[in-house]
């Protein structure tokens, strides 16, 4: 396993590990802004809503004689159905008396149910066809092509670049949207941009970590980072760091120990990051609290 951590397990394993790290950096950073905007659970609905799109994209590609596992095609399907889920979510919140938490649960479970229906249908079509698709439930780095890794890593870098450009308005809209409006910044557009970035990392993440668990990468690093600092910029950096470390570590461990599900390991590592923060963070952690009490 040490070899895996030192990136000496072979070219492919190294590539996957670095790709997972880039993904972790991006999801950690996006998650920090979501946390500030108090919308941490929206990606839960969006991630679960990707599944029917993945299934449909698979069927469409197979119907056209393709392999059915072409990642960009699957992610396109995932993106469309995720946006549809987001649209339904907003429609429920604005158009009915249902509260947002109920709307999230509704979109999450019904879209996922539809995805399961499609998945079981595909399973019924013939053994082996669905193998790649199940990887979207819980993630897997096994069988990832080099191009897939480039896509994920490249996407992660693009997301980080976009966040860097938008960082000031994202913080302003999260902190005081009314004031932002008066300054000429439009909260609706900034929120839409944030949701687009969330969609991007969800799509990138479902392949590595799976749809169910990707939301952990968007929440836990931010919660952990909050405990270390009162400065927004530092919080975003720490959150990205925790995500990146978990991505790196999880992929490395998963490569070294076959059968270890990547997504679950990465989630376990970000949680470990939270526990460490809860204990050791100087201001809000347990140790800091005890020291002040003494």
């Amino acid at each position: 396993m040490i070899q895996a951590f030192l990136l000496q397990s072979g070219y492919n394993a190294t590539l996957v590990t670095l790709g997972a790290m880039a993904l972790g950096l991006a999801t950690g950073a996006v998650g920090a802004f979501l946390f500030l905007r108090k919308r941490s659970l929206v990606p839960d609905a969006m991630a679960h809503a990707t599944l029917p799109g993945v299934g449909l994209a698979f069927l469409v590609m197979v119907a056209f004689g393709g392999e059915g596992r072409f990642l960009p095609g699957l992610l396109l399907g995932a993106g469309v159905s995720s946006l549809l889920g987001l649209w339904v979510l907003q429609g429920l919140v604005r158009g009915t008396r249902l509260p947002e938490d109920a709307a999230i649960g509704i979109v999450l479970s019904t879209f996922y149910g539809a995805g399961i229906v499609l998945l079981t249908y595909i399973q019924g079509l013939g053994a082996g066809r669905q193998a790649g698709l199940e990887g979207f439930l819980l993630g897997s780095t096994a069988g990832m092509l080099r191009e897939d890794v480039y896509l994920i890593a490249g996407g992660g870098v693009l997301v980080l670049a976009a966040l860097f450009c938008l960082r000031r308005v994202l913080v302003m809209v999260a902190f005081d949207p009314g004031y932002a409006r008066v300054l000429g910044v439009r909260p609706a557009w900034v929120d839409a941009a944030l949701m687009a970035l969330v969609l991007a990392v969800v799509l990138l993440g479902i392949r590595v970590v799976g749809a169910i668990l990707v939301v952990a990468l968007l929440i836990t690093p931010a919660v952990a980072a909050r405990m270390w600092t009162d400065r927004v910029g530092v919080m975003v950096l720490i959150s990205a760091g925790i995500g990146g470390a978990a991505g790196f570590g999880g992929a490395a461990m998963s490569a070294a120990v076959p059968g270890l599900p990547t997504g679950a390991v990465i989630v376990a590592l970000v949680f470990a990051g939270f526990v460490i923060s809860a204990i050791f963070a100087p201001k809000r952690g347990l140790l800091g609290y005890l020291r002040r009490a003494a």
Partner: protein, 243 residues
């Protein structure tokens, strides 16, 4: 007299209720103008409608002769009660820097000169010692002053303040008055929605008497009379010192 802000038959409706009724008035540069009236008179609403925070039913507000979008760089706003999350991980100096967003844009890095200017704004509201504190660690009056510093950081020529003195202690009140008068002396237009009638003739140059519609507008000496006040407040007046 240069006009900073002109209301032209501005009306606002909340459902079927007329909150602001065809208000026409001018706010000049180089003066401190108070907007006074009873509760529910539409004072805050008037400002918010002019700024586009709430929708207008009819009429318009002209800023320096043009629309708000073209004049945004010259207009600063301090809202009534900042309804923010006081646990937000942000420091006092960062809130002030937010006021400089238009100048900074998306990508230009924050330079030493920018930081120095932000500290200068904090100095004017007497909060330099608190620059690096998280906003939740401040008292109510101090938080109010942070948001005033944010408005100052905009380097505007028109300052719209909604109840800047509400709920602050005497020391903070004195500090804020000093700042506002300083802005006026530099030539800016300062408009404040204000509730304390006794201080109007002491601090302000001009006044707008509002009770959904405009009762009177002009210099304090001319307009701030018992008759006009009676008409604005429609009955028993709060205790007043003799003008």
């Amino acid at each position: 007299m240069t006009v900073a802000l002109a209301f032209d038959h501005l009306s606002v409706l909340y459902g079927a209720v007329t909150a602001v009724d065809q208000v026409t008035a001018e706010i000049p540069m180089g003066a401190m103008t108070a907007i006074v009236g009873p509760n529910g008179a539409g004072k805050s609403t008037l400002l918010k409608a002019a700024l586009g925070v709430v929708p207008k039913a009819s009429g318009e507000a002209r800023f320096f002769g043009t629309s708000l979008d073209e004049a945004r760089a010259k207009v600063a706003y301090m809202p009534q009660r900042a309804s923010v999350d006081w646990d937000f991980p942000i420091r006092v100096i960062d809130v002030v820097l937010m006021g400089m967003q238009r100048a900074l844009g998306l990508l230009r890095p924050v330079r030493a000169a920018d930081r120095a200017f932000a500290m200068d704004c904090l100095a004017r509201v007497e909060l330099t010692d608190f620059a690096k504190r998280q906003i939740g660690a401040l008292s109510g009056g101090q938080q109010q002053r942070v948001f005033l510093a944010r408005a100052l950081a905009q380097r505007a020529q028109l300052y719209l303040l909604d109840e800047p003195f509400a709920g602050v202690d005497a020391k903070t009140e004195a500090a804020i008055v000093r700042v506002l008068q300083g802005l006026r002396d530099e030539g800016a237009a300062v408009v404040a929605v204000h509730h304390d009638l006794a201080s109007v003739p002491v601090w302000f140059d001009r006044v707008l008497l509002l009770n959904r519609r405009l009762i009177a507008a002009g210099p304090v000496a001319a307009v701030f009379t018992p008759d006009a006040l009676r008409e604005t407040y429609g009955g028993a007046l709060p205790p007043l010192q003799a003008a």
